[in-house]
């Protein structure tokens, strides 16, 4: 995903909090404010800058140390413990204009000061805020021109958006639109009735051009209400600028690419920017004074620390042929000479393809290439049964699918003209909800792609192998009796009240390279999982069916939790699961309960590492200096990137009775990142988490229901 984060998306709670402290009703008789430099915050990752303490401080020397620093410091220490977020002003000269897409990027920083393993460190990260240069009024004009029901359209565009008003530099979130009112309306101000038009002219010298536009209503946050503000703030569309990216903007590839040019920084560029920030901090009078008050100094350089680089892992192919993944953790080229680890013994012999008549030629060509590619990887694919349909309507496809499924195929491949989400959803629903047949959907563009056809066919062959329940490759694991579980939640974009949680479990990877996947519906808005136990039971049962005993060790990777919920997760989920595991193992007459570790995986962190002036290689592990002392945690860089700076992942072992050393835990986690079969390289999170995410999002966007039980042993959602 792109590194730049628009305000609306990531960490909405903090953004909200920020807005509330700065918003004010425009009606309030106010003290005049001079225009401030534009401010905003963002988060991004950055290396830490270490404040060195004066020699009197006792923080680093537990034994001795003079009392000098302690006196002034002790009182202040309590304050310093808290993570504080500071806003840094952007200079108006730094604003980046992207004129052709009507937006601006405001670069800035987000910081936090915290006690880390040894010292107090300042974490700073670069982030950009997206400001659109058009106003809400322009959006209204567009809706008037294009849509029949412009009010609905406008509502859809604008409700929930955060807008910035230029005259006082504050942001508000739009809660409602009042079409009945116009700026000519009056309100009482200093015991006089003033219309909005007059008010804005008198106070800010702004002339409102259209006196007939509707008004936007923003509900003030509780804090400002308590501070004496009124509950509702009325805004004029002409004076409001929207912020953040909409979904249409996100899917506009050119826009994202133009933004990425500015926001995606190479390691060197990022380090330079951070050093500039450091210099500004050192020189600004306000910060110098604060540092002196606390008797601290801020180091001028980024924190240097030593990490470890894990060896490139070995990937196991057919006939247990083990080859190194290479320094870049990418083994795509190895498929040319090596077969897939396990393939169906009799190959893919009973399958069908569906295609409209006009793509029939591309289809046959593609199938040819597919068979050839699979043969190169030692997988046998027979000729499919072809079902050519006359047109490409959804209904025709569904009927054809129904007919194919009657013959009980192993797989059905559909060639579709384009990426239409509705058709995709209905095809998947038919095959995964009503029947239990894995399907592969290819667009005409991919099938007809002349140049890259062999590589596309290779990838599709690997995917098909997985969908049938077999394994393209494996890693060598020095531990037997281990079950790895990944869990993630995904919200339904269409129906905001539903969310789906998915759990994917591996079997004993030394002997069995399949994964068991299950998905269930859960309450939207709830970060805590209450359905863990039934899903884990299903996975445990499957393990016992395969291996005739329960696992010795269970490693659970939990994704989708923000930092604020950590304590709750521990209380709610971990305690519950540990209790139930003990009870279950006792019931099954096992000798002792399993050794269990619960790891919280976090991708959205502010930390970044640099190796020299370059990206650290995949397999870099850091577990000192920048980790938190009260946690058993480590950072792992598992993926390699070609552009920009790589983002590490944070792993926090919340509970562990697994009786492995931290080194072994880190190595195990790194190994688990090699097993995502849609990508012949390492992924950012362990494969089981990535699978859970993919499954939850498939069910959330297309299926809206958990699919058939029979599919649970196959990776049908890839």
């Amino acid at each position: 995903m792109s590194e730049e984060q628009s305000r609306g998306r990531r960490r909405p709670s903090r953004e909200y909090h920020q807005a509330s402290s700065t918003s004010r009703r425009p009606r309030e008789p106010s003290i005049s404010e001079e225009p401030r430099a534009k401010v905003f915050r963002r988060e991004f990752e950055s290396p830490y800058e270490k404040p060195t303490t004066s020699k009197d401080s006792v923080k680093r020397h537990p034994g001795g140390g003079n009392g000098g620093g302690a006196g002034g410091g002790a009182g202040g220490r309590k304050k310093r413990e808290r993570v504080s977020y500071e806003i840094v002003h952007t200079k108006p000269t730094d604003i980046i204009d992207i004129r052709e897409h009507r937006m601006q990027l405001w670069p800035g920083y987000q910081t936090s000061v915290r006690q880390h393993e040894r010292d107090i460190l300042l974490c700073a990260e670069i982030a950009h805020k997206v400001m659109r240069t058009e106003t809400v009024y322009d959006i209204l004009q567009r809706c008037l021109e294009t849509a029949r029901d412009y009010q609905e359209d406008f509502r859809r565009h604008v409700l929930g958006m955060t807008v910035l008003t230029d005259y006082n530099n504050k942001t508000y979130s739009v809660n409602d639109i009042d079409f009945a009112k116009t700026p000519k309306e009056t309100f009482s101000f200093k015991n006089q009735e003033v219309s909005f038009i007059d008010y804005y002219y008198k106070k800010y010298n702004i002339r409102i051009r259209d006196p007939n536009q509707p008004l936007l209503i923003s509900k003030a946050k509780l804090r400002s209400i308590r501070g004496g503000e009124n509950e509702f703030i009325i805004l004029i569309p002409e004076l409001c600028r929207p912020t953040g990216l909409t979904d249409t903007m996100r899917s506009n590839m050119q826009l994202m690419r133009a933004m990425a040019d500015h926001t995606r920084l190479e390691p060197r560029g990022r380090m330079d920017r951070l050093r500039t920030f450091n210099r500004r901090l050192q020189q600004t009078e306000g910060s110098v004074r604060i540092l002196k008050d606390w008797n601290m100094t801020l180091d001028r350089e980024l924190v240097e620390l030593s990490g470890r680089i894990l060896d490139p892992q070995r990937i196991v192919f057919k006939d247990h042929n083990k080859l190194s993944a290479g320094d870049n953790a990418d083994w795509t080229r190895l498929f040319r000479d090596n077969g897939l680890f396990t393939t169906p013994t009799r190959g893919l012999e009973r399958w069908s393809v569906i295609s409209p008549t006009r793509s029939a030629r591309e289809l046959r060509n593609f199938v040819e290439t597919l068979i050839r590619a699979a043969r190169g990887m030692n997988m046998k694919i027979d000729r499919p049964e072809e079902l050519i349909i006359s047109d490409d309507r959804n209904h025709t496809y569904l009927q054809a699918m129904e007919e194919c499924c009657r013959r009980d195929p192993q797989l059905v491949l559909c060639l579709v003209p384009n990426n239409n989400a509705e058709r995709y959803a209905s095809l998947k629903k038919k095959s995964y909800l009503e029947r239990a047949v894995p399907t592969q959907i290819i667009t005409q563009k991919s099938a007809g792609n002349q140049r890259g056809l062999m590589s596309i066919a290779t990838k599709v062959a690997i995917q098909i192998n997985c969908k049938l329940g077999y394994t393209p490759w494996m890693i060598d694991l020095p531990l037997s009796g281990l079950m790895t579980i990944g869990y993630d939640i995904s919200k339904c974009p269409k129906d905001k009240s539903k969310a789906f949680c998915a759990l994917v479990a591996s079997m004993d990877m030394k002997q069995n390279a399949t994964f068991y996947s299950t998905v269930a519906e859960c309450t939207a808005g709830d970060a805590l999982a209450s359905n863990l136990w039934p899903m884990m039971t299903k996975a445990l049962r499957q393990y016992r069916k395969e291996h005739e005993k329960l696992p010795n060790r269970i490693l659970f990777y939990r994704d989708g939790i923000g930092e604020g919920s950590l304590k709750q997760v521990y209380e709610h989920e971990v305690r519950d699961v540990v209790e139930k595991l003990e009870a279950e193992y006792k019931r099954c007459n096992a000798e002792k309960p399993p050794m269990f570790a619960y790891v919280v995986v976090t991708k959205s962190i502010n930390t970044r590492f640099f190796y020299g002036e370059r990206n650290p290689p995949p397999g870099t592990v850091v577990d000192d200096v920048v980790t938190l002392p009260e946690r058993y945690d480590f950072f792992l860089v598992s993926q390699s990137v070609r552009q920009g700076t790589v983002s590490p992942t944070s792993y926090n072992v919340v509970h562990s009775t697994i009786r492995l050393t931290p080194d072994q835990m880190q190595l195990l986690t790194y190994k688990m990142c090699h097993l995502y079969y849609n990508w012949s390289g390492t992924t950012r999170v362990p494969a089981v988490c990535q699978y859970a995410k993919k499954l939850a999002s498939l069910v959330g966007t297309a299926l809206y229901q958990p699919p058939q039980n029979a599919l649970e042993k196959k990776l049908y959602y890839l």
Binding site: P62, H320, F341, L660
Partner: protein
């Protein structure tokens, strides 16, 4: 005049907001205290806090959903009728024909190392904290415990 209109707007808005909320989330009762009424999505977080106040309530968690807490006599009846039972027992077609189920197992992958007998001690951050003088936050405990903690810290770090 303007303020009265504003009130009208505010009522309309409140109505709309609450209606939205109710559609998305049901209202449930806390099992520890029937007077606590809250949204379903907040129940899990609430239970953690409420549990501290009711240490004597002997409630057992339903195996299908850990927010369903039941007393001994309700337990059996609930488990039979739990709405989340479908997680385990839903959507089963007849199992696929046997010929499909080619065994996906393979022979054991040999490795150089073997960690099966490893019995290392798990890293415990608390031991590290006791050793090293770093700033800490008191774990969420009652106010008196927090105060004690801060006073001890002064002694500890001085």
């Amino acid at each position: 005049m303007a303020t009265k209109e504003m009130q009208g707007v505010s009522e309309k808005m409140n109505g709309r907001l609450t209606m939205q909320k109710a559609e998305e989330n049901e209202i449930v009762q806390c099992p520890y205290d029937k007077t606590h009424v809250l949204l379903k999505s907040r129940l899990a977080a609430h239970l953690i806090k409420c549990r501290i106040n009711y240490p004597d309530a002997e409630l057992k968690a339903c195996p299908f959903n850990s927010t369903h807490l039941l007393s001994q006599n309700e337990y059996v009846a609930h488990v039979i009728h739990c709405p989340d039972r479908k997680i385990m027992f839903q959507y089963g077609l007849s199992p696929p024909p046997a010929e499909w189920e080619n065994r996906t197992r393979h022979s054991i992958i040999e490795t150089n190392e073997n960690w099966d007998e490893v019995d290392a001690e798990d890293y415990d951050p608390k031991k590290y904290l006791d050793r090293v003088a770093v700033l800490r936050r008191a774990e969420d405990a009652s106010r008196s415990e927090c105060k004690n903690f801060v006073n001890n810290k002064r002694m500890r770090l001085d």
